[in-house]
């Protein structure tokens, strides 16, 4: 019985990924980040706009996250709910949310410490970002039994290392990294969405 419940849980979680819309949205957030770093790279260092952008990064990420969440909900309502129905997952337990937040802080703290207290060059950042992306994507692939996420995980690592060794200017390297990974994730999501729309016809009006 426990296994059946776990399987049902996994199926419900998998449902979130089966149409590729959330992947496309995540890819769009990465593109927003790529654009952010591109603007920073183009602006003269120390300019008022560059400083304002640096300070406003958190708001920029939050705003792009908010907009894409709205877009995901609208796309799901239009494309997915009439085909395979609507489901809202249970929020994770508070303890797990704290653990995830703690883990995120530990990772970002370790990266900052690595760059501050060692002689690691700043050009490592895309490789480190690629590694973090790779770990998260591989974990999602493992947790939800989604092999395509393993491919994206390897790709994130490859893009990160490739950008790091190409020795681009600061910020331009991150712009390229986030654009590259964003495009890869969007393409993967679009393929999944195409297959989903092909294989799942519109259901007739609901009767109940």
């Amino acid at each position: 019985m426990q296994d059946e419940v776990k399987t049902a849980q996994q199926r419900a979680r998998l449902y979130w990924y089966r149409d590729g819309i959330s992947e496309i949205a995540f890819g769009v957030i990465c593109l927003f980040l790529g654009l952010y770093f591109l603007i920073l790279a183009v602006l003269p260092p120390g300019s008022l706009l560059a400083s304002m952008l640096s300070i406003g990064m958190v708001f920029y990420i939050l705003a792009s996250g908010y907009i894409t969440t709205k877009a995901v909900n609208a796309a799901k309502a239009r494309l997915v709910y009439p085909r395979s129905g609507y489901v809202q997952l249970r929020p994770p337990p508070t303890r797990r949310r704290y653990l995830v937040a703690l883990l995120a802080m530990l990772i970002s703290g370790s990266v900052i410490a690595l760059l501050s207290f060692t002689s690691a060059p700043i050009s490592w950042i895309p490789a480190i970002s690629g590694f973090i992306f790779a770990v998260v994507l591989a974990f999602l692939g493992y947790q939800n039994n989604l092999p395509r996420f393993y491919g994206l995980s390897v790709l994130a690592l490859v893009i990160g290392i490739a950008v790091a060794i190409s020795n681009l200017e600061q910020n331009l390297d991150l712009a390229l990294f986030y654009t590259g990974i964003g495009v890869a994730i969007i393409l993967s999501g679009l393929l999944v969405l195409r297959n989903y729309l092909k294989s799942t016809p519109l259901s007739g009006e609901e009767l109940s």
Binding site: V5, A8, A12, S84, G85, V87, L89, E205, S208
Partner: protein
């Protein structure tokens, strides 16, 4: 020692019926789901699903909300706290029964 068969006669029959058990197990792992999702997950026909949902609603194990998504009617179902507790009790009951009746 012979198993206590009375254990099984006390089982929650509202949940014990296979179709309703699948519906409850599906709703147990989500916050809420609509009729179409439940139909896809359980493999039941519209009529069957509707009839079992009505029984579960009458037993106050499931809450049903009828709403609209644009012009399409949407029937949203969620397990009540009583339904959640009843399912957990059912699982425990069945597990204990199976343990008692498994030969050593």
């Amino acid at each position: 020692m012979s198993p206590d068969w009375n254990d099984l006669s006390n089982i929650d029959r509202l949940i014990h019926e296979p179709a309703r058990l699948i519906i409850i197990a599906t709703l147990y792992v989500v916050e809420r789901a609509d009729f179409l999702y439940l139909q896809g997950e359980t493999g039941l026909t519209k009529g069957n699903l509707s009839s079992h949902l009505s029984k579960l609603e009458a037993g106050e194990y499931v809450e049903i909300e009828k709403t609209y998504q644009g012009k399409i009617p949407l029937t949203i179902c969620r397990l009540t706290e009583a339904g959640r507790k009843a399912f957990e009790a059912y699982r425990l009951h069945m597990r204990q029964f199976v343990e008692k009746t498994t030969p050593e």
